[in-house]
């Protein structure tokens, strides 16, 4: 079976000459949930944009990124975007329709589904994201947590097999964070989550990848990586509190 995400020796340089990614290689198996860690500016967001074919601007001929065995290339971008659901960092970038239900319906409409099927998917996605009854609300009047969930609903409505999230819990209050984590746990798709929320990684991801200066510096089981204080501190991270305490009754 081919990997859900296969990245081989991926490099990227921005117009201003900044080298954002250098020789990045890793693969994610179907159904896996992987945390992507790294300090600010380490290239996490840039990497995620590659998974959806939004970068590079010039078509990639080398096939450095493969989704379910298919190279991300101009002629199959549609297929790739169908399979990979990308949740952006700033909800205001993603919620571009006047009302929640229109925004959630956007993806299914682009897929060319019938009106009835679009409606069914919108209802399903809203319920899944804990936003049942929010359909008619104006997107710009939602709270930040609600906006986050509306973004998730918009992507879930496309029923992707791979879910890629860019800092999904930043700016959320503790309850919002807890609820969002619970939502993510219920989703069975393959997940790649770029985040600074180390507790989320400990709770949801079996594996973590650490990116720094555009290169993969560590890739392994979450507990092993996050318990390595030296590694964490060297790359702008820290050993999360949740791993510092002994839980005699847990596990």
């Amino acid at each position: 079976m081919s990997a859900a995400i296969q990245v081989t020796n991926l490099g990227y340089r921005y117009h201003d000459g900044t080298e954002a990614l250098r020789g990045v290689s890793f693969s994610v198996a179907p159904g896996e949930c992987v945390g992507l860690l790294g300090p600010n500016g380490s290239g996490k967001s840039t990497l995620l944009l590659h998974l959806n074919g939004l970068l590079p601007e010039k078509p990639d001929v080398a096939g450095a990124v493969r989704i379910l065995g298919q190279p991300v290339a101009p002629d199959n971008l549609e297929t790739v975007r169908r399979q990979v659901g990308l949740v952006f960092q700033d909800p205001d970038d993603q919620l571009f329709c006047p009302s929640v239900q229109e925004d959630v319906a956007f993806g299914p409409q682009q897929l060319g589904l019938s009106e009835a099927e679009v409606r069914a998917r919108v209802q399903r996605a809203l319920a899944q994201a804990g936003l049942a009854g929010f359909g008619r609300r104006a997107t710009h009047h939602l709270s930040h947590g609600e906006k986050r969930r509306a973004c998730l609903a918009g992507v879930l409505a496309c029923e992707p097999s791979i879910l890629v999230l860019d800092e999904p819990t930043s700016d959320l209050d503790p309850r919002g964070r807890r609820e969002f984590k619970a939502l993510l746990r219920q989703i069975t798709a393959t997940k790649l989550i770029a985040t600074h929320d180390l507790e989320l990684v400990v709770e949801l991801c079996s594996r973590a990848i650490v990116l720094d200066h555009g290169a993969v510096v560590a890739d392994g089981p979450t507990a092993e990586l996050l318990n390595n204080e030296e590694l964490m501190l060297a790359h702008g991270l820290e050993r999360p509190h949740i791993l510092r305490h002994h839980h005699p009754h847990g596990e």
Binding site: G85, D90, D93, C97
Partner: protein
Amino acid sequence: MIDDWIGHYHGRRSSPVSRLPAAFKLGLALAMIVGTVLAPPAAVGWFIGMALVLALAVALSRLPLRFLLKRLAWLSPFILSVALVNALQPAVRGSWLAVAVKSTICLLTIIVVSNTTPFSGILRVLKEAHVPGLLITTIALMHRYLFVLAEEAERMRRARASRTFTRERRARWHALSTVVGQLFVRASERAERIYDAMCARGWK
């Protein structure tokens, strides 16, 4: 704050006017506006008729009068400037009153319709009227991001103000010009990110 100026009326109570079909309201508004614009200044009967229709619509819409007047005041510089230009031109001096009346009727019509019809309803009518899709998308995005941009401008203005220690007018103008410039750059970068987000969900 910005919502006060450009947002819909929030205490949107259900009213006989808000329950009317959007297509009917928009059609009627269009007819009223075109009729008013084309009416000769001497057609006092038409203006009085329109004023009565509007008064009835306002009463049935249950929009607070204060809200309407505030909105009208916010938009009236446009009316007043046109009327003023007319008043200064000897050839059409007599028509400044007509211009003021016409513009007030048109503006009030728009204010009443737009505050009793959800924006998505208006877009749906435009779509049904076969307005080009690209234009509808542009209008929808403009409406959506007007608020985001305005909030961003407000945040920047506040941040600027908290570090502005002079009351000198020149410094304030300078600060304002920086904010406007920054806003432009940020808006164009956001536009790129929005486009990416649209592509990610299959936009072609």
